[in-house]
């Protein structure tokens, strides 16, 4: 079975030019923006002398290609450089933010599965019935409402009115982190669930009508055992790739959500980085996000391979 996973090293190798491309594009984009960190820091009270002094101090007087070469050289040694704004190693800032965003995304994924699987099952057992219509109305609403608006509404209802969860922030202990992340994760889950429900509902309906389920039924399998072992396992396969693609989008969505909920994750780091023109931080975050999306893509295919014995991404199979 593991020979079917031999596609992983090749996939990783092919990710390298993608990552290099990302660094170049991001580097050029941030340097095309007018203004630099010296100006962002000093503001309107900065005199030309003070700005020149700070620019020199930050190494911004070097030609662009040299700045990029320095960045790339450092990166190859595993060094993200130093934040131009607060003089800290960027790696420290990024590695402080990565677990925050990862926890948020994982939490959101779990919540969206908890919402989607039962709803899809309910909808699929009697297509076009009353319950199915209810679920479909929910998916329409969930897709139609903008994330930031859902976030604000949840804050108003659950935090301000009911005072069940904090309005925003991240807390200080691990337990607090989960408590603080619940609402933002729920917000992301509500926007992600509709896509999962639709895919899962469709494939469950197909699965329920298939010969193998009929066979299983005839062998006496029924109820939740039938659903778990035969229906869900087969229906899940197309949904896995839907989730994989959506997780990539979710990283983008988390930037907005992190801002609404004041969560100190990658999105917040990226936004403050952009406003302050903190080039090394922006580049590092972009790189980490690109890596994340690539890894999710590979993981999706791995899961796919493991769940469905017919799938084979390795070379021999394609040859």
């Amino acid at each position: 079975m593991f020979h079917r996973l031999s596609f992983i090293p090749g996939r990783l190798l092919r990710a390298l030019p993608v990552i290099l491309g990302v660094t170049i594009v991001v580097f050029l984009m941030v340097h095309l923006l007018p203004g630099d960190p010296a100006i962002a820091i000093l503001g309107d009270k900065g005199t030309p002398q003070r700005i020149a002094a700070l620019r020199e101090q930050l190494g911004l007087n070097q030609p662009l290609w040299l700045q990029y070469a320095t960045f790339l050289g450092r990166l190859l040694q595993g060094n993200f450089g130093t934040s131009l704004v607060n003089n800290r190693p960027v790696a420290e800032l990024v590695f402080q933010a990565v677990p925050v965003t990862l926890t948020l995304l994982l939490f959101a994924l779990i919540l969206s599965l908890l919402i989607s699987i039962p709803l899809a099952a309910i909808a699929a057992t009697r297509p076009n019935g009353g319950r199915d219509l209810g679920v479909r109305a929910f998916t329409l609403l969930g897709q139609g409402m903008p994330q930031f608006w859902v976030g604000i509404m949840l804050i108003l209802l659950v935090s301000v009115e009911l005072r069940l969860f904090p309005v925003g922030g991240y807390g200080m202990t691990d337990a607090e982190h989960l408590y603080y992340l619940f609402l933002p994760a729920l917000t992301l889950a509500i926007s992600m669930a509709p896509t999962i429900i639709r895919s899962l509902r469709a494939s469950t309906i197909a699965s329920l009508g298939s010969d193998y389920v009929a066979t299983a039924r005839s062998k006496g399998s029924a109820g939740s055992a039938l659903f778990r072992q035969h229906v869900l396992r087969n229906a899940a396969i197309p949904t896995i790739s839907v989730i994989g693609v959506n997780l990539g989008y979710l990283v983008g969505g988390s930037i907005v959500i992190e801002r609404v909920f004041a969560i100190p994750g990658l999105g917040s780091l990226m936004l403050t980085g952009i406003f302050a023109r903190d080039f090394p931080t922006i580049q590092a975050v972009a790189l980490v996000v690109a890596l994340f999306v690539i890894i999710i893509g590979i993981l999706t295919d791995v899961l796919y391979t493991l769940l469905d014995p017919r799938v084979n991404f390795s070379k021999e199979a394609r040859a």
């Binding site: 923006l33 007018p34 309107d44 009270k45 005199t47 607060n86 800290r88 935090s159 925003g168 991240y170």
Partner: protein
């Protein structure tokens, strides 16, 4: 609420005078407030951005950092609550020589750094000297008039000036002149500013960048019985709406920058108090005189007359503020409330334009910052108003950093901008705005009126307050006539706290004195 503030102020005056007269019972004269002061608790303050660095000598020492640092480092003098003058703080008294060139300053006895070391004249000399060295890179330009600092004895320093300089005590009150241990207490500057040590009511705690910054109580603080709080935690919450909801939900104690648009609804919320503290902020439109037709005074006046400031105060500040009539904001000494800056008068606006080089109007643009709702409203109102007199104004929106670059390089026709003071003396601002040699080309407008430049220089060197007042009165009149800016409005500082926070007062120069703040249950 207003009575409470006045009581705090009176209490502070009482406390200060007790200290000044050498009475040790200062703590018994605690400010009278609406409840009994309680010790303990963590004050949670939410701000829109994080501090950058505590390095008071670096160029990146900006407002969010300064706000934190002033709880740790204190200066020889501090700004009074009304922001109009200074009073001795780590100094106990001072004498001025008859030639106005030497200030001999006695240090307050018994003050210690939070590391237990006593404050001596050597520390004072080191602190002021290291600030002065940063004239080109940090805040040292504020010490421009200082020739040298001499240690007279352990508890006395003499500050010698290059020329008589009226703003000197105000300059010494600046955060960058805070007293720190000599030679950074044996550390390197970088090590020292990673965890700065001073005489202030709070000590450095812990900093998780982008998340929170925590200060803890200095148990050996020289004002006995203070601070009342155990700690202060600054958190970063960029979204104004989230800060508002956090405050309403009781998750934070203070929202540092509520929007004016939500000010009224916060005021009406149960358990929330709002404050509009007098500030030194002036919002204005700068005209770039390097670009035609703004070199023409009649064009500038026409625009200045065409703006309905009362409408701006109503629409942008929701009534919290007042129309601006002078270059010098009201929270600053020598502000002339009768200064004849142009005010809304459509007839005069049309008459001025008729005798200008562009009698039939022209097209121009106004630079504003994206994401700033206030600036967007001002721009839209101005656009409609200028249309009335035949001027077509395009609104040019740039992100804040790009707008700063355009400002610094004078790449604008008109620029919507604002200023706040750092010291209680008009000189910092009048020099920046009107002196073409100051390095900023008169606030990037290229305004150059020799009469104003001369008045400004005279104001710096005149130490008699009555004569200074007359000088600045003239300066305010001429700059108003020249209409090198169109002054828009003066806005107060908005703050919102829960009703459990007491003793909170912000001076017009954004000094906080959190040692007086306490939280009830």
């Amino acid at each position: 609420m207003r009575r409470t503030q006045r009581n705090i102020f009176l209490g502070l005056i009482a406390a200060t005078s007790l200290i000044l007269t050498g009475c040790s019972g200062a703590s018994s004269a605690a400010p009278a407030t609406d409840s009994t002061p309680v010790a303990g608790g963590d004050l949670k303050i939410a701000r829109s951005a994080d501090a950058i660095s505590m390095d008071s000598t670096s160029a990146s020492f900006e407002n969010y950092s300064i706000e934190v640092y002033q709880n740790i480092g204190e200066s020889l003098f501090t700004v009074t609550d009304d922001g109009k003058s200074v009073k001795p703080w780590l100094a106990s008294s001072y004498k001025v020589s008859t030639d106005q060139l030497t200030y001999t300053i006695a240090l307050r006895p018994g003050v210690k750094f939070s590391n237990g070391q006593p404050v001596t004249a050597k520390d004072v000399k080191f602190s002021i000297d290291q600030d002065t060295k940063t004239a080109d890179t940090g805040w040292g330009f504020i010490n421009v008039a200082i020739d040298k600092v001499t240690v007279v004895d352990d508890a006395t320093v003499a500050i010698t000036l290059k020329y008589p300089w009226a703003p000197i005590l105000a300059d010494l009150s600046l955060f960058s002149n805070a007293i720190i241990p000599e030679n950074y207490g044996g550390k390197t500057a970088t090590e020292f500013f990673d965890a700065p040590v001073g005489t202030g009511p709070f000590m450095w705690g812990e900093w998780k960048k982008g998340q929170y910054l925590k200060l803890v109580k200095n148990p050996g603080y020289w004002q006995k019985g203070k601070p009342l709080l155990d700690s202060v935690t600054y958190s970063v919450v960029p979204e104004a709406n989230t800060r508002k909801l956090q405050l309403q939900g009781g998750q934070i104690d203070i929202d540092n920058t509520p929007d004016w648009s939500s000010f009224a609804s916060l005021k009406a919320s149960a358990g929330v108090k709002v404050f509009a503290f007098p500030s030194t902020q002036i919002d204005y439109v700068a005209f770039n005189q390097q670009r035609a037709p703004f070199s023409d005074v009649h064009v500038r006046r026409a625009i200045a007359y065409a703006i309905d400031r009362q409408a701006l105060v109503k629409a942008v500040l929701f009534g919290n503020g007042s129309p601006a009539n002078s270059l010098i904001p009201p929270g600053t000494p020598f502000y002339d409330k009768d200064a004849p800056g142009p005010s809304f008068d459509l007839k005069k606006a049309k008459a001025e334009l008729a005798q200008s080089t562009k009698p039939d109007g022209f097209s121009t643009s106004l630079l504003i910052r994206s994401g700033d709702a206030n600036q967007a409203s001002v721009a839209q109102i101005m656009q409609a108003e200028l249309k009335e007199i035949g001027i077509t104004m395009e609104i040019k929106q740039l992100d804040p950093t790009a707008a700063k670059k355009a400002t610094l390089t004078s790449e604008f026709d008109m620029n919507l901008s604002a200023w706040t003071m750092d010291i209680p003396d008009p000189d910092e601002w009048t020099s920046f705005a009107t002196d073409p040699d100051g390095g900023n080309h008169s606030a990037f407008t290229y305004y150059n009126n020799p009469a104003v430049v001369a008045l400004n220089k005279k104001g710096q060197q005149e130490t008699d307050p009555i004569k200074r007042e007359a000088i600045y009165k003239d300066l305010q009149k001429i700059t108003g006539d020249d209409a090198f800016f169109a002054y828009l409005y003066y806005s107060p500082y908005a703050f919102a706290t829960t009703d459990k926070v007491h003793g909170y007062h912000v001076s017009p120069l954004l000094t906080f004195h959190l040692e007086n703040v306490y939280k009830t249950k």
